[in-house]
Amino acid sequence: MSLQEEAEILRRIPLFAKLEPAKLKLLAFTSRRLAFEAGQVLFNQGEFGDSAYIIVDGAAEVSIETPSGPIVVATVGRNAIIGEIAILCDVPRTATVTAKTALQALRIDKETFFRLVTEFPQMAVEIMRELAQRLEKSNQQLRAAVAARQG
């Protein structure tokens, strides 16, 4: 798969959807294309996060450590971006991500990500928009949960 195709994949991710093609290519060029085997761990909960991953092909499980053992909280697939929280706000990884099938991913390291954001403000705006949407979504969920409790 070439840079051109990777740029196409990046375009399908909402975070990057509005970036112009040259920027998407730059993002693809500066990221590393990695293959994981089924069962291989992308990163562990509690580790220091230095990169985010975009799944190009395959699926991964997101699990959280609990006193009674790990619990799978989500399964993510193609076009998903994972691990971005750790690089945005310097917290340890909040979950463990394991490849469920053979997995192809683009790995963007933190430094590069920040440099891109500083260099291209439209990327920062897109990220803000995405985060605001996520916040709104969790607020809605919270409201729904509170309403369900009261009702």
Binding site: S2, L3, A22, K25, R33, L34, L42, E111, E119
Partner: protein, 866 residues
Amino acid sequence: MEKSIHRFVLRHARAETMVLIALTLASLPIYYMALDIPKTIMNKAIVGKGMTWPTEVAGIPFHQVGYLFLLCAAFLLAVLVNGGLKQYINTLKGRLGERLLRRLRYELVNRVLRFPLPHFRKVSAAEVIPMITSEVEPIGGYMGDAFAQPLIQLGTLATIVFFLFMQNPVMGMAAISLYPIQAYLIPKLQKKINQLGKQRVKAVRRVSERIGESVAGVQEVRAHGTGSYERAHYADLFGRIFEIRFEIYQRKGFVKFLNNFLNQLAPLLFYSIGGYLVIQGELTVGALTAALTANKDMSSPWKELLDWYQQTADIKIKYEQVTEQFRPENMIEPGLQDPLAAPPPPLAGAVRAAGVAVVDDTGLRQIEAVTVDLPASGRIGVTGAAGGGKEVFAQVLARLVPPSSGRLTWGERDMAGINESALGARLGYVGPSAYIFSSSVRDNLLYGLKQRPVHAPARDAAGQRARQRLETEARRAGNSDLDHEADWVDLSAAGVASSAELDARLLDLLARVDLTEDIYALGLRGRIDPDRQSARAATILAARAAVAARLAAPELRGLVERFDPQAYNTNATIAENLLFGTPVDPAFEIDALAANPAVMEVLDRVGLTPLLIAAGRQVAATMTEIFADLPAGHELFEQYSFLTADELAELPGLLARVAEGAQPEGADRRRLLSLPFKLIDARHRLGVIDEPLQERILAARAELRRAIKSGVAFFDPDSYNAAATIQDNILFGKTAHGIARAEARVGKVIAETLDASGLRGAVLEVGLDFQVGVAGARLSNAQRQKLALARALAKRPSLLIVNEAIQGLDAASQARVMEGVLASAADALLVWVLPPDAERGPFDRLLVFSEGRLARDDSAASPANA
């Protein structure tokens, strides 16, 4: 050291100088004869004035012609003897000068080695180096001339004047009448030149000091963007030198002019006074002609004498200005640095400090009245706030800083009186930023074992004689006659019996300071010569097969893409795929490939050139597009692009000049061709390396292998590649770029295979040969400190002082290193300067320094309630 250069010469070369003076004096009568015989030939043999023929010489009768030839033969003899003597004197002078220069340089270096440590805060290497190398150079040339030259020239001059007086006293007076004026004026003029000369030396030194600073502080200059400020400073310094030099030039020129002018006046006196005398009949024309000739001869020695005078003034300044820099206070007594004649005596016992105080050169009290008894063996921790005295205490213990008052004893002996080599053999000291010499890891480890030559090197009879000559000459110049080529490593001090055991011991030391893995990694990146180490190369080849077999396992497949002569390697660059070997000649390096005619010929022949140019154009277009909006030199670009910022800036122009499908010539062609060379398909994913291109590259690879006779070490699955690293030889391929944690997994496979085949030790030994670079620059700070610790441990010291040496390491590593060192120096007295507020921990005692005083002394026996 002698304060004046003339005293230096007389002190060290009195006999030679006397011989020179004697020979010079002896040559004067012969020179006189060379002047006098022509006159006799003219007057007696040719004109026959007052002669009757035959005339008798030593009882043999001679006719006029015979007499003429006899005198001519005598003249020839005088010229020959005079010339030969001059040549001999010159040789003696040259040798004397060179010997004295050697002595002077050695003496200066010797003094540097004796400087007290605090003095090094005031002098910089940039100042000292030019003094010992270039500044003394002209002094050397002068020293041979110091006494002989004025004597020769004065003697010659006196001979001529005497000759003139013999002709006619009035003529003699005329010849020297102007000298008093010159003798009065010239020193006056010279004085000002001398002062300027001093200023010049100082100004040049400021420049070298500044250059030293710029080089050492280049990071700061770049980071603060102060290049303009620095340049302005240099312009200013050079401007000052220019002014001084130009003024010296002008003044020297004036002295020369004055001198020439006065010399030209002399003939005037001859013509007027001499002419008058001839007209009056008091002088013959022949005598006047002879006098004129003699006067012409006078100008040369007079000029030489004047040059010598100017040179003397110049050199005196140089000598004084150099040597005054080498006379600091409190130099180490020369006797303490005498070479050891026998193995160093054992030193052991309790170390006792009695009322030790150190006052630095600004009068600041660094430690005061420290009295402490340390046992012959044990672990002493030293702590306290930074600057509270613990660091200075450690340096005093290591005798790096002499106590200003008080006494330090080790066993029965006063520390101040122990020979430095004897002390160095038994004492280990590692400071906070230990120096690593520009050599191999092994040489650095062995450095502490080299106090004296242990075994003379094996030499044949001729070599022995040559060595004898070198030693004799060294002694003549007051240099050390110890043999640098001898084996200086004292095996017994390291506790081993043979060199083989020594390597094992060094590897053991590396393990103790937690350096093994680092050296192993360096070893993997090292190279061996398969011709000299054929057995080792064979084992590595066996490891290559073993690693390949292991990597063929299903879970590891794909981690490494092996070099296959018949296949394109997508994890290697296009250049590597083309050459299929390691460049040995720089002409085959990746950046030079497009300009290599042999390679280009093959690429043209197999029809690869147009494909590569098209690929190059595509690369140029993509790179321009991707990096278009980034400012030149942006970090992202620096980090990811395989082009430099300058190269990228050229690309739009290149694309505009070369239309798609065109075949450019010259620089554009080279540029476009070289663009794809660095491409790695699996990594850069630019999609330009398609099947047809790969096929052409494989065809070119086969052709290149036939065409290139030397300059490339080709990959061959069955043979060792001398130009490649051990790791590359084992792997014989490229680690896949696109597989998660591939490097770590491959590294593990290699390590396990090497362990299994017993090659780990061999790799470590190659690691020991790793060249660490200037001041160990190719090692990390932590690696340098660990290496310094291992170096101090290698001699199994009785007293080991660790002065904040591992503070730069991470906590886990600090713990491992401390444990290793504590275990290694179990029998010794170990004094360890710890960070502030350190606990006693594994130490028997903890000394706490505060404001220069020993504030507390906690021992295990009397637990402190701190």
